[in-house]
Symmetry: C2
Subunit: 273 residues, 2 copies
Amino acid sequence: MSKLKRNERIGAIVKILCDSPNKVFTLNYFTNMFNSAKSTISEDLVIVKKIMEELSLGKVVTLAGAAGGAKYVPMMGKEEKTTLIEKICEDIRKKERIMPGKYLYMADILYNPSYTKGIGDIFAEKYSDDGNQVDYVLTVETKGIPIAMMTARGLNVPLVIARHENKVTEGPKISINFISGSTGKLQTMYIAKNAIKKESKVLIVDDFMKAGGTAKGMIQLVEELECKVAGVCVLMDTISPSQKLVQNYLSLIKFEAIDEANEIIVHPNYEKL
Amino acid sequence: MSKLKRNERIGAIVKILCDSPNKVFTLNYFTNMFNSAKSTISEDLVIVKKIMEELSLGKVVTLAGAAGGAKYVPMMGKEEKTTLIEKICEDIRKKERIMPGKYLYMADILYNPSYTKGIGDIFAEKYSDDGNQVDYVLTVETKGIPIAMMTARGLNVPLVIARHENKVTEGPKISINFISGSTGKLQTMYIAKNAIKKESKVLIVDDFMKAGGTAKGMIQLVEELECKVAGVCVLMDTISPSQKLVQNYLSLIKFEAIDEANEIIVHPNYEKL
């Protein structure tokens, strides 16, 4: 390969860093790839950092010292976050989502790749703080998996999925019982015994919170595994009941009600964006 | 914002294109963002295209005409693909994966963000052909969801997840019965009636294929919805039985056996990479 120009190296560095959020790439990695001096790569990284910040495209953190290098951390501007969450709310308000029993059909939103990455990036950004590193993202099957996966990707940590059934193919389990707020039924949650190392910090991600029973169940599971809960993130919660079973959590969308005219009253949780 | 230099614009263009694979961004989008002439942006795109190809970082397709613009298509070099799949095989070979009943514990691999994106990109690349556009990615809960989500993201199409239970919260369903090869049990698969539009092309993605019962079930579901199967992709299949219930499918890893010394015999499906 012929020697690349600065603008070519910068394009490549951006691609490589952003493909693997929160992964550190050493200066050596890039000097080998481009056959360039460290000082040259350092200058490239200064430019990459600047573009990301100026255009609210994310944050590039450079690390000094022997293991020096750079990593990309998802970070969206307040305006970009608000635009995304408003767009999702607009989509939620479609009346054809209302199912018998006044349930809202949400699967297409939760599985839409143009939403899931942004949602995952918002959650990952909040928990990308180096002082309080998250070790795992935990969700329970099924609807929260895509946004949990995107959060895990943003944080560069493994995703763990609790199951509703004890699958024989997955070896020994730990289980807890919980009451799902959306159906009012007693349910069981299983997790593979070795899926999470003791004393890890676990970020809980789910699609929806009503009373908080499912989230509380996941918190219990984390404690059962002798780990700590780093936080609880949901895409949407209901304003009622106002007293949830979980105290501290982040929700991006507030669901108020389906009113008498069948309007779905939902809005971004502006203060948390 | 002050006017950006070429290398800054290029960094930003790479980030924006790669954040939304298979989404077309018009020249106007970039001229507005950077306050630059179309000819300038066109030159930038030529450079972006060149870097991606030279470094096997993906493909940038430029589209001429009034709606002209550019999009990023996931594309890995043969070497990168082989390295990734060999690394996954290495990870699969760990003996502690062997569970009672000779099942392999695979969840940590299937939910590992540093694997899932690459797997999704490999599948997306194979089905990014403009002449044979995929409209949806379909999987069945649970273990295939992360790679299916990443494939949907690579293709920029919605993900649809078939369920094992008929959830009341999701409205009217279509269901089919099938026999799962890994457990030998008769199971049911449900899909929301309106999740997929008639006459769409659907790409089926799953984690594992033994006899092909689950994949065949998904094919039946697609046909039930009056849609066409664009293809079937699995991360791993078994060499036995050699006669599967599904004829054409792409598998990235071949599982042979767990031998008498408890070695897990598994290798990349080199000819398909």
